[in-house]
Symmetry: D2
Subunit: 290 residues, 4 copies
Amino acid sequence: MVAAQAKRIGLVYQPRKPEAVELAAALSQRIRAAGIETWTESAWEEAAVSASLPGTDLVLTFGGDGTIIRTLRLAPPLGVAVAGVNFGKLGFLAEVEADEVAAALPRLLAADYWCEERTLLAITHRRAGAVVGEYLAVNEALISRGRANRVVRLQLWIHGEYVTTYAADGLILATPTGSTGSNLANLGPVLPPDMRALIVSPVLPFVSFPNPLIVPEGAPLRVRAVFDHEAVLAIDGQRTIALQNEDVVEATIAPYPCLLARLRGRHYFYRVLVPGLQRAPLLPSTPEGG
Amino acid sequence: MVAAQAKRIGLVYQPRKPEAVELAAALSQRIRAAGIETWTESAWEEAAVSASLPGTDLVLTFGGDGTIIRTLRLAPPLGVAVAGVNFGKLGFLAEVEADEVAAALPRLLAADYWCEERTLLAITHRRAGAVVGEYLAVNEALISRGRANRVVRLQLWIHGEYVTTYAADGLILATPTGSTGSNLANLGPVLPPDMRALIVSPVLPFVSFPNPLIVPEGAPLRVRAVFDHEAVLAIDGQRTIALQNEDVVEATIAPYPCLLARLRGRHYFYRVLVPGLQRAPLLPSTPEGG
Amino acid sequence: MVAAQAKRIGLVYQPRKPEAVELAAALSQRIRAAGIETWTESAWEEAAVSASLPGTDLVLTFGGDGTIIRTLRLAPPLGVAVAGVNFGKLGFLAEVEADEVAAALPRLLAADYWCEERTLLAITHRRAGAVVGEYLAVNEALISRGRANRVVRLQLWIHGEYVTTYAADGLILATPTGSTGSNLANLGPVLPPDMRALIVSPVLPFVSFPNPLIVPEGAPLRVRAVFDHEAVLAIDGQRTIALQNEDVVEATIAPYPCLLARLRGRHYFYRVLVPGLQRAPLLPSTPEGG
Amino acid sequence: MVAAQAKRIGLVYQPRKPEAVELAAALSQRIRAAGIETWTESAWEEAAVSASLPGTDLVLTFGGDGTIIRTLRLAPPLGVAVAGVNFGKLGFLAEVEADEVAAALPRLLAADYWCEERTLLAITHRRAGAVVGEYLAVNEALISRGRANRVVRLQLWIHGEYVTTYAADGLILATPTGSTGSNLANLGPVLPPDMRALIVSPVLPFVSFPNPLIVPEGAPLRVRAVFDHEAVLAIDGQRTIALQNEDVVEATIAPYPCLLARLRGRHYFYRVLVPGLQRAPLLPSTPEGG
């Protein structure tokens, strides 16, 4: 990779973490001192982040996986890479810990990194044929019951072919990145993040086909929700959209991947997979509070 | 069993099924003609049903499993037996199909049946120590996320011993009757309905202990919910109660079982289990609507 | 519990662990010095252990879970309690670590312990109606394929009622003690060790009913194996018996439990469950050998 | 597709099915009468089938899935297509039922079909570095315990990176075709048969990482087996190879797919998936024999 000095760097922070806000401000000063333009925004101000993105070489995020994911839903259409500075429980997305970023900054500013391309999910929400919403998902879209514990009927078509109807709590449509999220808890398979495939995995399937399906690129998904209580479409656990009966959710692999700026070596995925999952403690030693 | 002529029969119907309402009315006339007192109520009028129950020998329900379950949450404290006349998809609770009940009526009126005792779940909902709700569940209590797709932390104690903390979509506390409901879809174990034990089964456990637990009589359960979005307590999928952060749900086997009047032979459970589940079609041949 | 001085103590050791052999010998001398009769045998000499058991007050085992389990299959019919001195990876059966047993000896000799009763599985192997073998199992009986990867058809009756036919790799019939063994790996439920119930859990069920069944006391199990290659009956992973086509395996709860001498407090099970399972490392940090 | 008249047709039959042997003979006569060369062999004579394959345009198999699979392990290196004539329970591999093949023959002889390419697994068995066996698998390779019910330790590397060590009953390495076999019974994901990916799925993983892994093309698998009893390598459930302690099994996607001659339309996979699995009855109505 040819190193090319960055000209414009974005800094996106989790607004509820004071140490993240402070570190973003301190790094911004340091980057400007190096003659590089910067902009700084809260991860929750999606419109402001989107407005600042054009012309940006790299976005640094300061927070946990949630902050990276919010940014990754905005940056891909513009081809802007993202590097996560980690303040949360270490996930698979962040690249440096908060206390390592100062040392890593020269490489980041010199573009001395490689870009990992991760498959994104493009969602279209339709009602009576008309598009009523479009979303990108980094981890997954969940089509599920709302508050009441009532099954939803979810009819599935792949590549135009009717597959089955689930009577279930919900249906996870996950990216490879999301394969280590809800899908993992649902006993689903783990895919390397750059694989061009999606996972369809039913949650609590009642006498329905229970195994997850792996769907390759070029085979669009269509899910129609039939229910008499309440159903929702949830994007990355961050947005919750109310569905109406007979609404349709279409899903495909997005035409552009998200780009993660990586300082580590390539082919790291299988090496860090099990230790990374194991780091999450199976059990807190004492109940919090009690 | 000594047959003893019934003196007072209740008829409880699903109000949205006209054929159930009509059949209840017709049978009520026929029973009165035999000199037996009757009362008739909608399953949705729980207060009215409760007021009519004292002194009742047998309640006939006209609807699907939901109608039986509503009645079974009211009748057990009074020791009143219930016989389900089935209008829905055949489950494991109903005793006769709608078109068979006329023929079966003489045996039902003569109390020529045996009473199956099914284990019930008694739930106490506490907030800061104070009781804010008490419920009986025929199938299960689910403590879970609300609409947003966010994990809830659920701390579990059994018999006063701290067991673990789940980071999960929810936790199912099921009776043996409920073992063929949500618990079955969650890959949980099937228990015979009269077994004096409960099932604890996590839904989408994130790096938490995933296996269901079987808890015998005399070992009360305590679950404390910690969350930053929304969590609910759902009783038999019919009642949804909003939880506040740090609310506690206590669960034990109820002191009285529910009583199902049975005309069939005893020890039927293992015989009908797999055919009964199989009758639910794995797949509708065509999507409804499309 | 009234403490009553022991008169006869057995010491059973894993013959391949020199430190277990040595500790058994050293403790035997110390117990004899206290005027108490002892006998010492290898766990692999089952006939010799059985011959020595009558009149024994307590057996100490020196080894891992395998050594305790071998002893527990012999001692229960005589009502002799067993205390495991642990040299292996700590499981749920052993009571003291090897380096703690010297300090614990006075309480053990004074019978200052309580006896935990654990449910045992009694197996009868029949061929054309005739009994060809009888076994006790502490953890589980597995009826499964042999070396070739071919499904076996396993017909199941409970309490004389035909339940289903599995086309599967095998069928686990587990005790509550065995619920944390193969059954756990098969996603099965965990039962407290004194519960009077058995678990039936299919391994790799091909389009068969997949959920485990919990079967209470008084409901005998009958499994008939139909196969065209090879099938085996394995008892606690320690004995492997070749089956012939159409052989029948009957299983019930044994009339006597096994008795574990416990120094710890009662009601410990739910407290140690998750930490005990977690102690087993999910992942060795480096492959052994490579 | 340009239709090109076949010049040489192979007929491979299951030798234990007289009706399969007869139909193969009858069709051979009919094909020869059309001036086309034929050869006919038992599926069990692998050397003879291999010797006859060069120059063959199409092989018809007469039997069940086992017969097709045996042929599919031999034909791919020569690029010969296979069409299965079905005598067994209908699986996903056969193209025509036995009573339909006469009508379908003109299209098959005129090469009026399309060739479905299915991903094959190439296995290398190494001992102390040296190759001791090489195999193709259509469905899966299973590395597992032998007759005794003892866990095997299976160390996994992907693309040269150490992933984890399983303590398990076995490890399934499945093709997309095999995703509806053992892998399905193990709750694993279903992949479309032409996807260039493999599945790694542990059977009864004891406190090991339980989720299946999807591994794309170009990421070779290496599994090292460590055990103290017995372990085997099973290819498609048809060949069983004894392993020695510390043997290594390497697996990659084979450089050539297997070719299935298809008369049906393309993109059929998702349409037939659930009905095809459902056709296998969940439960025989009566036990065979009893």
